[in-house]
């Protein structure tokens, strides 16, 4: 086959290459800056101690679990604003189930039932999102905003307006234990889910149809893809991943809380956008989202580490979101020409 290769000017090919890997470069740059800063100002290493790495990875877990689902939803041209309180809903559900079974069943079984209940209730919330959007044609922004309120209300009602303490040692081990004292269990769980989601998005029909729907919904429909069912599946998947984040929260803090995921939503969306996904749909990768989530965690942990007031975190993360979209736009304009 003849391949006609357009000669690219060297300048534009540099922008292309940098655009493709800029998030990696930016992550490396942040780590180097914090490392130098930490060494100069108090003679300590930033990255080369286990505690720092564990802290960064633990801070990545919740936003990343939300961001993985959002990656799929956003690639398909949607958005899910309700996931933050899906986390809380799942967290409170798991806590209530475990507490009510505490005296009657062994801890392991109580945890297992709590996990199942949390994932199921979250999937129901996701199913409602999917039905609203795919069947009743409510714009995703509005439908999931409504579900944001409903999940929030239900979670607080289930929690009776307070946090639900859990007295279950297996639950606590899930949130606070580690493998060989090195890899925290929540990080391990997240890592496994990352690998699975990467596989699903890049190698399966489910992933391919997610891109196709985001690229051209009508084309997907005409090609025989069941767009409605697929869209519902995406919101259920996202909710189930949010439930995992809620379960991990309940383990880590040995309590269920309705507000468990409240502050994480924007960071999760930011991670997806920094990772190169387009909010117009059709573009995005799991690996990009992982890098995006790590960038945010490194910024937040790094600023604390070098003693900067935590309020600057918001500014820094906000600036990075804008920067990442600018980089993406300039890359697209070069590729498009």
């Amino acid at each position: 086959m003849n391949q006609t290769v357009k000669p690219a000017s060297s300048g534009s090919s540099i922008i292309k290459t940098v655009g493709a890997i800029w998030s990696w470069l930016f992550l490396a740059f942040l780590i180097v800056v914090f490392e130098i800063w930490a060494r100069l100002s108090f003679g300590q290493t930033f990255l080369f101690n286990l505690n720092s790495v564990q802290s960064i990875l633990m801070a990545t877990v919740q936003p990343l679990l939300l961001a993985l689902g959002l990656t799929f939803v956003i690639i398909a041209g949607g958005i899910d604003l309700s996931v933050g309180f899906t986390v809380g809903l799942a967290s409170v559900t798991a806590a209530q189930v475990m507490q009510s079974l505490n005296s009657s069943l062994p801890s392991g079984i109580g945890l297992a039932l709590g996990i199942i209940a949390a994932i199921l209730i979250a999937m129901i919330a996701g199913l409602v999102n999917g039905l609203l959007i795919a069947r009743l044609n409510i714009p995703p922004f509005i439908g999931t905003l409504g579900m944001y309120g409903i999940n929030r209300g239900v979670a607080f009602i289930l929690a009776k307006g307070t946090t639900v303490p859990v007295d279950n040692p297996v639950n606590s081990a899930l949130g606070n234990g580690s493998v060989l004292g090195i890899i925290p269990i929540p990080v391990l769980i997240t890592l496994i889910i990352v690998v699975i989601m990467h596989y699903v998005l890049s190698q399966t029909k489910f992933g391919q149809y997610t891109y196709a729907i985001g690229g051209n919904k009508q084309a997907a429909q005409r090609a025989g893809i069941n767009v409605e069912r697929h869209t519902i599946g995406l919101y259920v998947l996202t909710a189930a991943l949010a439930a995992v984040a809620g379960i991990i929260y309940t383990g880590r803090f040995t309590a269920g809380a309705a507000q468990a995921g409240e502050p994480t939503l924007l960071n999760a969306i930011a991670a997806v956008v920094i990772g190169g996904a387009s909010l117009f749909g059709g573009e995005g990768k799991v690996v990009g989202t992982v890098i995006g989530a790590l960038i945010i965690a490194v910024i937040e942990f790094g600023l604390v580490y070098i003693n900067v007031s935590p309020f600057y975190q918001f500014i820094a993360v906000g600036a990075v979101i804008i920067l990442s979209v600018l980089v993406d736009q300039s890359r697209r304009s070069v590729v498009g020409s």
């Binding site: 391949q3 006609t4 399966t204 029909k205 891109y211 196709a212 084309a219 997907a220 025989g224 059709g282």
Partner: protein, 248 residues
Amino acid sequence: MSANQQPILEGRGLSKRFGGHQALNKVDFQLFPGEVLALAGDNGAGKSTLIKCISGAHLPSEGTVFLEGKPIHITSAQEARTHGIETIYQDLALAENLDVGANVFLGREPMTKMFGFLPMLDRKLMRSASAEVLDTLEIHTRLDKPVRELSGGQKQAVAIGRAIYWKARVLIMDEPTAALGVPEQRKVVELIHRLKSQGVSIIFISHNLIDIFAVADRIMVLRRGELAGERNAKDTNGDEIVKLMVGG
């Protein structure tokens, strides 16, 4: 076309009403193997309604479609496809964020196994098969880029390539040249000639008389939902077709 040949596709008495509006009124048509049939007519003449009744997008209110003499009842685009009838819409229906292979195989992806057990998309097969099919159309382009980066004519070729890869015997093309510049229009005309020489039967809808005369064997003119006339392309001219279109 010899009169005793059996049409590959035939419609008898096709009518379609939308409420009180008669969009199509008792239209008969025949499409013969390896023929290019042009469908001409003004806006609202019923061209689109007619092809939608053939391609499964609409169910005709009355009348029957025959494929090789056998009546068929088509209720969806997928069903039309299983009969070898493919429609290329004006907007092409490509997922422009995906590459050529992904578009040719959209909805029908071949799978292979990763590590011998894990199912995965067979991108290699998708790419090589779409390269082959574009080769038969004599279109050469990068296959690893999103379709968005191709020219209008190349996109048209991808849409056509998808249809012929899936062994379309009847290709319905809705205004394939309308959104293109002049050089690209010529490319599409060439493509239609090539398809015809490969034995594909084509229904070609166009406003453009130059394109119609460049590709068509026969021209069917619709006016207000009815058949206004039918001519062999070599026995008629633009003036006559226009007269049929406007009813002069």
